[in-house]
């Protein structure tokens, strides 16, 4: 248990570090698509919704709250990627 927790912390640290290193190099021109793309990625919490939905049990209220979370996260992901695609399309055409 303890070893897993430490490993998880290590992963957290490494992911933050890689993120920091990579994103520091992104030019100002691409900051908006970066924001909108990373914003879409923050909808990853959808997976948490998928994981816990079968386990909420008999409580209808909790079930509805998970569905709301799933709805929000899906909106975040689909809308976010779609709009990022639209923005990047504009950068593509002047290549």
């Amino acid at each position: 248990m303890e070893a897993t927790f430490l490993l998880t912390l290590l992963v957290t640290f490494l992911a933050s570090f890689i993120g920091y290193e990579l994103i520091s190099k992104i030019p100002q021109t691409l900051h908006t698509p970066l924001m909108s793309g990373s914003n879409a990625i923050s909808g990853i919490t959808l997976i948490a919704g998928i994981l816990i939905y079968p386990e909420v049990g008999s409580s209808e209220v909790l079930k509805v709250i998970v569905l709301i979370a799933i709805s929000f996260a899906t909106l975040n992901i689909v809308g976010g990627f779609s709009v990022t695609g639209r923005i990047l399309e504009m950068f593509k055409k002047n290549d």
Binding site: T8, A15, S16, G19, L22, I23, P27, Q28, T29, L30, H31, T32, P33, L34, M35, S36, S38, N39, A40, I41, S42, G43, I44, T45, L46, I47, A48, G49, I50, L51, I52, V56, S59, L62, I65, V66, I68, A69, I70, S71, F72, A73, T74, L75, N76, V78, G79, G80, F81, S82, V83, T84, I87, L88, M90, F91, K92, K93, N94, D95
Partner: protein, 443 residues
């Protein structure tokens, strides 16, 4: 098998960020990120799709359709609002998941605190983002920051209420209410021009909320993706802050520009006409255009493109100087210019172009104000002193297209407007440019 999918997904997310680094590869970044997300979602199901009922699938399908519709209908000038809106949804989702986990299962004590944290951050992001959207739409006026800050100081102690009155089962709901109110109060005091910082900061928080949700449900992919988003948001937040020479704390405290000082001008500015500007521009060898939020408000980017084409056809060199905090979100001006096919090779950052202004013939300031205010260099008492600005006052001639002499966000006069080398063209950005373009035909 699941582990391999998750590993692949994490690697793809990281590659996606790497590809974001260059305009030429950035469109592939989105494809990679989408693929990574699809794999992550697949792993969540654990190959057992029968565990889920109809309401579940309907919710996903309907939300996905709405997401696409919203994203297709929004104009590029409204991009900051849209990012803010989606961000709020992401934060709200993480907060809701944390709430369900807290009320449903008996979490180990370490997870309990992570869940409380995730719930608070998620709900704060949710309400804060919606207030930011309203701010960006101009639907909310500034609230007095002193009163709001005193009020918010009283929020944390409210958490003790259940302990005092022994209201055990209301603890979580009260926590959510406090986080929601805190989000509203915090963002409502911050002015529109500070929104680049706020949007980036909320973006970071939504990543942190997702990351901590990952700890509760034991999902590595949530932790990896959440951490990546959290890092990206923090970098942009700090970049925006340093571009204004203010700390994150100073921005979040709000109230910037509330006190209007030194608002008077010593003399009248020289005003000019579209015809004169056209003549001036056609005799120039080099022109630098400085876009600001005024260009976005007036939707003037097409007119900018047309002017650029006209000038280039007359062998005038045209460059764009973009301040990091111009507009309402990081990179806002770049996107608007890219929308009308202006080459990103012609867009320059502050560091790249500042040394060139002294040899530039004409600078056209288009709806920008504080980011070209020379007081940032000269007046130690000025609220913007020390902020890196575009040194357009050093150019041979400056044309400022602006509707009036009203001060910018910082609430201070801009001596650039009455400089000897500067002329004012009093017009809305789009209308002003269109009149200049028309006048070219007569030159």
């Amino acid at each position: 098998m699941i582990e391999i999918i998750l590993l692949l997904s994490s690697v793809l997310f990281i590659f996606a960020l790497k590809l974001f680094g260059k305009p030429s590869t950035a469109h592939r970044a989105n494809t990679f990120a989408m693929l990574a997300m699809a794999l992550a979602v697949l792993s969540g199901f654990n190959f057992d799709f029968s565990k889920y009922d109809a309401p579940f699938y309907i919710t996903i399908a309907v939300s996905a359709i709405f997401g696409v519709i919203i994203s297709k209908r929004v104009q590029m000038t409204q991009m900051p609002e849209l990012v803010g809106l989606f961000n709020g949804f992401g934060g709200g989702a993480s907060g809701a998941i944390a709430y369900v986990e807290l009320s449903n299962s008996s979490l180990p004590i370490s997870d309990y605190f992570v869940a409380i944290f995730s719930m608070a951050v998620g709900m704060f992001t949710f309400s804060g983002s919606f207030i930011a959207v309203l701010k960006l739409r101009g639907k909310l006026n500034n609230v007095n920051s002193t009163i709001a800050n005193i009020f918010s100081a009283f929020l944390p102690p409210l958490i003790l209420i259940p302990a005092v009155w022994d209201l055990e089962f209301f603890v979580l709901e009260l926590f959510i209410a406090i986080a929601l109110v805190a989000g509203v109060v915090r963002v409502v005091v911050i002015g529109g021009a500070d929104m680049p910082v706020v949007i980036a900061f909320l973006n970071s928080l939504s990543g942190i909320a997702a990351m901590s949700a990952g700890f509760i449900v034991n999902s590595i992919i949530l932790i990896v993706a959440g951490a990546l988003v959290g890092a990206s948001g923090i970098i942009l937040t700090l970049l925006m802050c340093s571009a204004m020479n203010r700390t994150l704390f100073q921005v979040l405290k709000g109230g910037f520009g509330d006190t209007k000082i030194n608002n008077e001008y010593e003399k009248d500015p020289i005003s000019t006409s579209p015809e004169d500007v056209a003549i001036q521009l056609s005799y120039a060898d080099s022109v630098v255009i400085v876009p600001g939020y005024g260009m976005a408000v007036a939707q003037a980017q097409s007119a900018v493109k047309e002017l650029t084409n006209t000038l280039k056809s007359k062998d005038v060199e045209v460059k764009f100087a973009i301040h990091p905090v111009a507009g309402r979100m990081p990179g806002h001006m770049n996107v608007l210019l890219a929308e009308v096919d202006i080459d990103y090779e012609d867009m320059f950052t502050l560091e790249e172009i500042n040394s060139e202004f002294s040899t530039t013939d004409v600078v056209v300031v288009l709806g920008a104000n504080d980011v070209v205010n020379p007081l940032a260099r000269t007046d130690e008492t000025s609220p913007i002193f020390g902020m890196p600005i575009l040194d357009v006052d050093l150019a041979k001639q400056v044309i400022v297209i602006k509707r009036s002499m009203s001060p910018g966000y910082a609430g201070i006069a801009n001596p650039l407007f009455i400089n000897d080398n500067a002329k004012m063209l009093f017009a809305d950005a789009k209308e002003g440019l269109e009149n200049i373009i028309k006048s070219f035909e007569l030159v």
